[in-house]
Amino acid sequence: MNYLSVSDVSKVYSRRGDHIHALDHVSLEAEFGEFICLLGGSGCGKSTLLNIIAGLDQPTEGRILIHGKPSFGCHPDTTVVFQEHGLFPWMSVQKNIEFNLKARGVPAAKRREISAGLIETVGLLGFDKKYPHELSGGMRQRVGIARALATSPKMLLMDEPFGALDAQTRTTMQRELLRIWQAHKATVVFVTHSIEEAVFLADRIVVMTPRPGRIGSIIDVKLPRPRDPTSQDFNDIVRVALEKLHLPGVAHAA
């Protein structure tokens, strides 16, 4: 059985009489442990879809099923990593990581034990007492990931988590994420507008097209990991993705 089903989901925003179709009859399935990338330019509804899967936003039509059961609102087995990292500036690294556990009423001693382990996992040993503003962009996102992992989620939703990072940090973080994902088996839905990032990370790339937001096509990426972004096979998939995104000029040139 599929772990996640997005079943015929539409989202219409109404603003002063205008109706904006952010999502138009989108359906998608993901198996447990699968790494899915939602790829598309701005306005294609990829973040809206992620928010709906997360339960942070409600669909106008259709529904989300998790493990075969319809899910309304946020789900205890799902956690989200946000683009702007969403760390609490008044909490230390450790307290930030423990927040989701605290929200679930996990006792303090147990929280400490889990956060200590995660601080090591994401490579932040010795930074547990620092505040977010004392960390670099990459380190902040490591904290964001650690916080999302704290509750041992079955599904990890990531909204352009590395979008604000410089190219080098980004590459490092992608590798780290794959390492963590392989260790903590979970379904990952990862939103990005970077084709290379999608090809590097995903088992399947869901290409979305804008106005209205729809799924254009789905690309299976069967390359073994770790993937080499300079290889021929990698670039063949990048080219396919480019064509599917209907980027004008590029498709014709190829």
């Binding site: 997360a54 339960g55 942070l56 946020c74 205890p76 799902t78 956690t79 989200v80 946000f82 702007e84 969403g86 609490f88 500036p89 008044w90 909490m91 927040f99 989701n100 605290k102 929200a103 679930r104 505040y131 503003h133 004392e134």
Partner: protein, 254 residues
């Protein structure tokens, strides 16, 4: 901590004022009875400091009680108004009306309802410091970063935890700015109230000294009011620096 240079700069206008005062006494535009020399006022401090201390302590106690009452009532109300739209819609006009009423204008009513003594004074301080605190608290709550609320929602945090760990710390800098404004407003109202409705405190002392033509005591009272006001403000600033130390490096020092 302030450097010597800052202390010298901060004191310089006061020294100038002192010199101008001294010079003004030489010009003998007013008789010495109306405008005593600085040294005469100093003698009041030196001679009758127990009385001055008693009146200052009385006033200070009233302000602390009134301000404390305002804090424990205004902050929770502001948190609720800022968080829940219907509450705001219900109370907005009322707040806008009441916050425009000067506490001093309510002195006659306070005397009618609470008689003469501590009660009317404390109620007036509470009233004047309540509104600035409510308004800055609402402002603080509304400025909570939206991502952080999403993080809390995704973590399925209870309303209580969101208030305690997210909204309150986020609004705290704004609340403490409100406390500074409130302390100022409360102190102002208190002195006025003591001139009419109470038989002790610095306001009463000044009024009484005026009746007896003791200009030196009037001036001593005025100086004390100013000094206590300054001390109050500095104390709240220190409190803010300590409580909001996570902000260091995030914002310019105010």
């Amino acid at each position: 901590m302030r450097s010597l240079r800052q202390i010298a700069l901060g004191l310089s206008p006061l020294v100038v004022l002192l010199v101008v005062w001294q010079l003004a006494t030489y010009s003998s535009t007013y008789s010495n009875v109306l405008l005593p020399r600085p040294i005469e006022v100093w003698e009041v401090f030196a001679k009758s400091w127990p009385t001055l201390l008693h009146h200052t302590a009385t006033s200070l106690a009233r302000v602390l009680i009134g301000l404390g009452l305002a804090f424990v009532t205004a902050v929770p109300l502001g948190l609720l108004i800022g968080r829940f739209r219907p509450i705001e819609e219900t109370l907005d006009w009322t707040i806008q009306i009441f916050r425009c009423l000067p506490g001093i204008a309510l002195i006659p009513l306070a005397i009618l309802f609470f008689g003469i003594g501590d009660k009317p004074a404390i109620m007036l301080i509470w009233f004047s410091s309540f509104w600035p605190l409510v308004i800055t608290t609402i402002f603080g709550v509304k400025n909570v970063e939206r991502t952080l609320l999403k993080v809390s929602q995704a973590a399925m945090a209870s309303n209580m935890l969101v208030f305690k760990d997210v909204i309150l710390p986020s609004a705290l800098p704004s609340i403490l700015t409100g406390l500074r404004l409130s302390a100022g407003a409360g102190w102002l109202t208190l002195v006025s109230a003591e001139m009419i409705a109470v038989k002790s405190g610095l306001g009463y002392m000044i009024m009484y000294a005026q009746v007896l033509f003791k200009a030196d005591e009037v001036l001593a009272g005025i100086i004390l009011i100013g000094l206590v006001g300054l001390a109050f403000d500095q104390a709240i600033r220190l409190l803010r620096q300590w409580l909001c130390r996570w902000q260091e490096g995030l914002v310019l020092e105010s």
